[in-house]
């Protein structure tokens, strides 16, 4: 089923991006890489990142629950010449620290990697803790690189590769453990270059972050009805791989975006803009969280309620193809 050189993981092997990237930070520090880390009372002492902080206290700063200050301090550390990682609690990165992201990080063009946790509704706890509008904001901020890794291991790769990447970066990850998309790290990964993880002629499913695995499983579901879906891991939202979208529209004639974000302004909005401006005739649908504050419930049930699960996505695809 896979036409590209990746080994996919169809089993529900779960890994936490926070745990895996924390371990990577520790490795990087052990190897002698020079960087600073800033948190805002949001790193558990028992986590891998917490243990990294314990091992390297002199390069870590905890500012307490003050995300605006956290991002500003991270910018100041970068002004002193450091590459800086900052783990920021979900919604309080794009919402509380919006001005600091825009002005201190992006306008000043500093090598700060803001790791925003609890993407989408993975936090539970209701709309105050959901992250549904961040991509819409980040996309409009110049200088930002926005990466939304498909799984925990990819996140660790992004963290390591970001040491040599110019300018500021947002790394968007879910709250806890999510299914691995890739069985190993033996695949080509380049920030800004989408990965076609499954080849298909009937339509293209484009996912980012956690939704890549949903797309993969939806493609498997669609195979049952003889529908062959191309699946794209759009791990980088900016700079965006337009060619991957144009090829998908041209070659499969139908594009469906799936994201753990509002349908407004995120991955779906970006793909819609590219297709509309290209003049390529293609069926198109955005799947994601609707324009409302999400209902409360057990997190998997909330996603199911909004059709963001393999069978729900497959059903939406079938309806679109019928039109």
């Amino acid at each position: 089923m896979s036409a590209v050189d990746v080994t996919l993981n169809f089993d529900q092997i779960l890994s936490s991006a926070r745990e895996v990237y924390g371990a990577e930070l520790r490795k990087m520090a052990d190897e002698g890489l020079d960087f600073a880390f800033v948190c805002a009372d949001n790193v558990a002492k028992s986590s891998t990142t917490g243990k990294f902080m314990e091992a390297y206290p002199e390069r870590c700063v905890n500012v307490g629950i003050a995300e605006a200050n956290q991002v500003g301090v991270a910018a100041g550390l970068a002004l002193s010449g450091k590459v800086v990682f900052a783990q920021v609690f979900g919604p309080f990165l794009p919402l509380r620290a919006a001005d600091q992201i825009h002005t201190d990080i992006a306008y000043n063009d500093l090598p700060v990697r803001l790791i925003g946790t609890h993407a989408g509704v993975t936090s539970g706890g209701g709309p105050t803790h959901n992250v549904i509008a961040d991509l819409a904001f980040y996309r409009a901020v110049p200088n930002l690189t926005i990466v939304s890794p498909a799984d925990a291991n990819q996140c660790a790769r992004v963290v390591r590769e970001s040491m040599d990447y110019p300018g500021p970066m947002i790394i968007r990850i879910a709250r806890g453990a999510e299914p691995d998309v890739y069985a190993d790290n033996n695949y080509e990964f380049k920030i800004g270059k989408a990965i076609t993880i499954n080849e298909g002629k009937d339509l293209t499913l484009i996912g980012t972050g956690s939704s890549v695995h949903w797309c993969l499983m939806a493609a498997k579901e669609l195979e049952k009805s003889g529908i062959h879906a191309r699946v794209i891991d759009m791990h980088t939202i900016k700079p965006f791989d337009k060619e991957a979208v144009l090829n998908a529209a041209r070659e499969t004639g139908c594009v469906v975006t799936v994201e753990d974000h509002s349908v407004n302004g995120g991955l779906g909005g970006q793909v819609a803009e590219i297709i509309a401006e290209s003049g390529i005739p293609a069926k198109f649908k955005r799947l994601g969280l609707p324009d409302e504050f999400a209902i409360l419930g057990d997190v998997p049930e909330v996603y199911k309620y909004y059709g963001l699960y393999p069978v729900g996505i497959a059903n939406s695809v079938r309806e679109l193809l019928k039109k």
Partner: protein, 290 residues
């Protein structure tokens, strides 16, 4: 110290320099023909002159010297003071500064400073309430790197209504950043009225002390007091944990220009030829006859 600046400026020299800078600033605003934030710029001139000409390790020929002291202008709308000082220090000509002010694709200078355009500007500022976090990060960075340059941050008093300042004050106090100096240009006025009528800050000294800072309070338009305060700073040692220092610099908004002093309406404004000449005359009158 790698600076090439003459460090033997006397208080009288600095007073004269402040007069020159105030006049150059008004001439700059007149020549660019757009509104400048003259009120808050004129209030902070004495402090900026003392820092850049005498007390900061700043080399205009090598503004990226890794050992330099850093100054974050949190009240970024007053960037023209720094441009004017850098010009006077020989970093570029006056005409260059005028010709490259908000001049579309050749722009270097703007109402708010851009660190990527203007050498000597440490951070692009303009959104109020950001400088203290940046300065705190810089001071922490110096500690991590075991370097002893000092970080200064100039903040407006109206700006202190932004809560992020207090988050940063708390952090700097907690980490005991003795290599950090906050200078509050306390001119008592904001954009639409006095600080007291808008949102009271006093007792500012007690607030700063409660946040873990040592406080020095001075008349910030009196060069002797400015110099005494800056000379009293202990050596910047990033490894020593002690309370950061806040200089509350009591100033007069619009200082030196009689028709601007303490006038809320001169928060920002343009100068026509008549007002420009009037401003220069007024500033020149403040020059002490020796």
């Amino acid at each position: 110290m790698t600076t090439t600046l003459p460090r033997n400026y006397t208080i009288q020299d600095l007073e004269d320099k402040a007069v020159d800078i105030r006049k150059n600033l008004c001439t700059f605003i007149y020549r660019i023909g757009v509104a400048g934030h003259l009120g808050g710029e004129l209030s902070m001139v004495d402090m900026a002159v003392a820092l850049y000409y005498k007390y900061m390790n700043f080399d205009p020929k090598n503004p990226k010297d890794p050992n330099r002291d850093r100054l974050i202008l949190s009240k970024g709308h007053c960037g023209e003071v720094l441009y004017t000082i850098f010009q006077d220090l020989g970093m570029y000509s006056f005409d260059y500064m005028v010709d490259h002010f908000e001049s579309l694709d050749t722009y270097v200078f703007g109402m708010h400073p851009n660190r990527k355009k203007v050498p000597g500007i440490e951070a692009s500022t303009g959104s109020l309430g950001h400088g203290m976090s940046l300065a705190t990060g810089l001071a922490l960075g110096a500690r991590m790197a075991k370097e002893n340059w000092r970080t200064y941050c100039i903040i407006g008093d109206g700006e202190l209504h932004e809560g992020s300042n207090w988050e940063a004050f708390m952090t700097a106090g907690h980490y005991q950043l003795g290599n950090l100096v906050a200078i509050i240009d306390k001119n008592g006025l904001a954009m639409t009225g006095t600080i007291d009528e808008i949102n009271t800050l006093d007792p500012l000294d007690e607030k700063m002390k409660a946040f873990g800072w040592d406080v020095i309070e001075i008349d910030g338009n009196n060069m002797s007091e400015v110099c005494k305060a800056l000379e009293s700073l202990p050596p910047s040692d990033s490894q020593i944990r002690r309370r950061p220092i806040c200089i509350i610099s009591n100033t007069v908004k619009g200082k030196g220009v009689d028709f601007m002093e303490n006038v809320v309406g001169w928060h920002a404004g343009q100068l026509n030829e008549e007002k420009w000449k009037e401003a220069l005359e007024s500033i020149e009158k403040t020059r002490k006859v020796r």
